[in-house]
Symmetry: C3
Subunit: 118 residues, 3 copies
Amino acid sequence: MSTNTIQYYMPGNRLARATVYNNTIYLSGIIADADAIDFKSQMESVLKKIENTLADLGSNKNKLLQVTIYLPDINQFDYMNVIWDKWITPGYAPARATVEAKLAHPQYLIEIMATAAC
Amino acid sequence: MSTNTIQYYMPGNRLARATVYNNTIYLSGIIADADAIDFKSQMESVLKKIENTLADLGSNKNKLLQVTIYLPDINQFDYMNVIWDKWITPGYAPARATVEAKLAHPQYLIEIMATAAC
Amino acid sequence: MSTNTIQYYMPGNRLARATVYNNTIYLSGIIADADAIDFKSQMESVLKKIENTLADLGSNKNKLLQVTIYLPDINQFDYMNVIWDKWITPGYAPARATVEAKLAHPQYLIEIMATAAC
């Protein structure tokens, strides 16, 4: 049994935005802020929230380890990649999978779950 | 290369109920026992199986790190949360994502995959 | 903050085939080589790519920790398991979840995302 403790970031009664354990950050599935309506705005909102979460935990997007991207419409795959590719620092792209899945509410057009080093 | 070894919990020829490595527990996607028919029974069965697995590995639900919930019918999202919220100890909610996905057999109404600290 | 560094395997500007951190390997969602057309060929191609990736990182299929299998057609579940079961070394099966999800391109019939020890 480890003596490590778990750190909770933005803890709630349902979920935490992220947990930290063993120098690893486990993020929740991140969706866009409510004011982001179209796909581009939502993708940028999600990426910004991931950045902010990682920054507050002493990490950054160059320390992402593994990312799962859920798209309710897989036809957005190519456009998602345009935004993603600009966001990624060359040489620091994480392992990644993208699949189609309906999300909790139909207004959400993308959800990203990630783990990162810290 | 690590000298850590992997511990297998309920090992099988197809999958293990869980693996343990580096003080981290990796669970399989947990489905309900066959006698749980309706959604509430299945959700409670899944949560109980997660609890039992974690207990046998020296952990508990307050050490969950990251959880992915698969619902074949995303319209169960709100009801799932009612049961989930009661189960979670305030302050110990893990990172979590919930998406819609058909499961291996149509009788299964929920599947939960998790990682936890130990 | 950890002094561990992240190792990138087959790094790209979009994703890496795998990242390594804390003695753990995080693989991308692996799809088949383009010349694998039918399900059996694709499954074998995916498993071979996982094996090769793990081998290059000083690991092997007996050190898989947690695996998520995405099938665009869940009706392939039983046949997928026939191939999977032959591939797994008895006693070394990882934690696993299998769900239905459409993949990035319709020609892909299976995608597998995994973590492993090294």
